[in-house]
Amino acid sequence: MHLPKANWGWASLPFLLLVWVALASRFPSYVLPQPWVVAAEALRWIEDGSLWKQFRASVLEELAGFFSAVVVAVVLGGLAGLWRHFRDFISPLNSLFMAIPPIAWAPLILIIFGFGFFSITLVIFIAAVFPMAVTIQEGVLGIREGEVRAARTLGANRWQLLGLVYLPASLPFLTAALRIGFSQGWRALVAAEMIGASQGIGWMVSMGGQIGNSSQVLLGIVLIGLLAWLMESLVFRRIERHYQSWRAA
């Protein structure tokens, strides 16, 4: 019998809570509330239905920005991976846009498009599309020439190569790109909502700060972390593990 190797990952969250409790005991509750005070705040938000409203607003913006970024990144990254001239052309642009924190675009976007869903979505799009395009491009470049050659000598035409070799061979990188894009988008979303929104989790945090409600701020932070963690561990890690298994050896 083999005992599973000890994994101390379970201890990290309780440890964080302990540190929180210890720190909070040194401050008055209106500065740094205890976890249970934040939990009570959460209950209040859930009961009057406004938590769901903020949560839904953020998730909808995230999904809209993320999915449009996926479509564009697949096209850009795929073309750049397959076609050297396009790669040469797009690489400096990619590096430039990746060097600029996406939130820096937010004020300009708000001036042009005004407050609201579209502006936030656009910031998320900008944050997610470039890192995803680069990851997909690297993935396509990483497809072994040998597999493509083998497929050609087996009679595959251009479209069959695309669908039966390039697509399955790039799935591991595609899933990695999705994970990166989602988390980049999520970070940008929270920041953008703090600057220019009238709802959403980011707005909730910044509003809490302005009215001096620390519990509300902390509740927002917990929600932001929770959603990112759930998506990461329940969705993206699983897909990635599935597609990487055959690459392992």
Partner: protein, 288 residues
């Protein structure tokens, strides 16, 4: 010789047409006056000529740097020569040519497909059989290489030798008339390589393709081939040819012990030595 003289009287166009027909009839593989140089001016072949009869097993032997890989790239149409023609089964070569099968140095299996699905790949893209027939056909070839029990395994779950067998089955399943084999067993240990050699001959005897087998292993070349073509170090092309007249079927236990086997081997070793000597005398001035 008289036939050749009369060919020379024809116009160039008529001559090339005539030769194409001739090639189509008699030669499975026809390399004619091929020149190839890389863009940096490095010449690999000039006026390379080589033919292989229908059903012939030809081994190409040469030290590294002799242009073996380039020869295969030209034959499979991945690279184009600056001059000359390469015909496979009478047709200008290209990678997708159904008459041409290519077994690579490393298996190049699709890692996301099972062994059976790998073998089915070519049948699937050809699409001229229904799915059930495709699976039956693929299974048949997997059985031929002795891997019917590994059909559902992924490539990473197979040993190197088994992977190369799957790759062989994948190529053979398309029933090409001409098979290019690029040092397919070079990565295997000596014992597996010898057994794969025997296996190759068994399949060849059963299926009767023309095989062009590239190797740097003299024993392997003698054991397998009807004819061994020795390449010069580039630029040079063909150094010489040697017909191997050993009885078939050949087996590791018997053939490799025949005095004639050892004679062929020594002769080829001599010639390879000659190739190396020539190349080092070519190189000397650059060092001096």
């Amino acid at each position: 010789m008289t036939a050749l003289d009369s060919i020379n009287d024809l116009t160039p166009l008529a001559m090339s047409q005539f030769q194409t027909q001739l090639a189509a009839r008699s030669d499975a593989l026809h390399i004619e006056a091929v020149d190839f140089a890389y863009a940096n001016g490095h010449t690999v072949f000039s006026n390379l000529n080589l033919r292989a009869r229908q059903g012939e097993f030809v081994a190409i032997l040469g030290p590294s740097g002799c242009g073996k890989t380039t020869l295969l790239n030209l034959l499979s149409g991945f690279q184009k020569p600056q001059a000359g023609r390469l015909l496979v089964d009478g047709q200008p070569t290209r990678p997708e040519l159904p008459a041409l099968g290519y077994v690579f140095q490393s298996p190049q299996l699709f890692p996301w497909l099972s062994a059976l699905e790998n073998v089915r790949f070519g049948l699937r893209v050809a699409g001229d059989k229904n799915t059930v027939q495709q699976y039956e056909h693929a299974m048949h070839y997997l059985r031929l290489v002795g891997l019917e029990n590994a059909a559902q395994r992924l490539p990473r779950q197979l040993s190197g030798g088994m992977q190369q067998r799957v790759a062989l089955a994948r190529t053979l399943a398309l029933e090409p008339q001409v098979l290019l084999m690029d040092e397919p067993f070079a990565a295997l240990d000596a014992i597996s390589r010898n057994s794969m050699n025997e296996e190759t001959l068994r399949l060849w005897a059963a299926l009767g393709q023309t095989v062009l087998f590239i190797t740097h292993d003299i024993d392997e070349a003698v054991f397998l081939a009807d004819r061994v073509v020795v390449l010069n170090i580039a630029p040079g092309g063909i150094h010489s040819e040697l017909a191997i007249d050993l009885p078939r079927p050949r087996t590791n236990r018997e053939t490799r012990r025949l005095p004639a086997f050892l004679d062929y081997r020594n002769e080829l070793m001599e010639r390879i030595g000659d190739v190396m000597a020539q190349s080092s005398s070519l190189l000397e001035p650059t060092f001096g």
